[in-house]
Symmetry: C2
Subunit: 161 residues, 2 copies
């Protein structure tokens, strides 16, 4: 089981080293009021992300993190020592993330598909659940990632003619 | 046609004021190398988001913005004077966003659905295309938003019994 909290230098992740069903668990991230407000100020300045008092009068009843904040935290848990490119995905936030939440991302590889036209890469579909310290799912992301192929495995016959 | 670059104070957006087919166009946002690197440092520290030289050796061939950066910019174009809550959506990045890109978001309301269980809100599905200065689509987002209903239109018979 690969684990992104293993120590170590940057490592390229190759399509050829992955398999469907493979699981990853991130380390944890404590999100506090300061982080929530700092992200919101820059990127999502709504009262329920900026001001605990004002947030009481909204549908959330209190301060919550921007969904893009949760997404960025989840991405960072994985991306910082790998070389993966997000092509897109489906995202949902079933529950809000509140200050003090301890987030952990659990991911599973759902599909692996080498590119037909570009033999140096392929597409991996990864389903990630972000849970808080109570085990509640606060984000589900099915991400499509462009992943390089191991250079030694790119054969001349696989190159476009 | 509503336009988010109209001057004015914060205004609540009510489900009852929207209609399917309604379109919105954002103002423009110039994204430069500094913004791309600053976001990446915090949230998506990969070489192709952090370092123009190192990015030359990657699949992108040069510095590009994190997709979450593009998403956050798009969100901010709309959210800052409205009170909408993202419940989730589908996102894709058909082309990378490079330094110097001038981004504009064009959105259309695809579906409006009052909540059956909670008469004070409903769900709006909005499809947004983010284009650069060449007219190329760099992001497509189909977002599901929770939108409040106009209080005067919430009738007692619509309340749960």
């Amino acid at each position: 089981m690969a684990n992104s909290n293993q120590a170590g230098p940057t490592k390229t992740l190759y399509l050829d080293d992955l398999h469907v069903g493979q699981r990853f668990t991130s380390d944890t991230h404590l999100i506090d009021e300061e982080q929530i407000k700092a992200f919101a100020k820059q990127f999502d300045p709504q009262p329920f992300h900026l001001d605990a008092e004002a947030a009481k009068g909204t549908l959330f009843g209190g301060l919550v993190a921007s969904g893009w904040n949760t997404a960025a935290i989840g991405g960072k848990r994985y991306a910082h020592r790998r070389r993966v490119i997000g092509a897109g995905g489906e995202i949902s936030w079933p529950k809000p993330t509140r200050p003090g939440a301890v987030l952990r991302v659990e991911s599973e590889i759902i599909e692996l598909r080498p590119s037909r036209s570009r033999p140096d890469r392929g597409m991996a579909t990864i389903r990630s659940e972000t849970r808080n310290q109570l085990g509640e799912i606060v984000q589900v992301l099915a991400a499509k990632l462009v992943v390089p192929r191991r250079p030694s495995l790119i054969t001349p016959s696989a190159l476009p003619g």
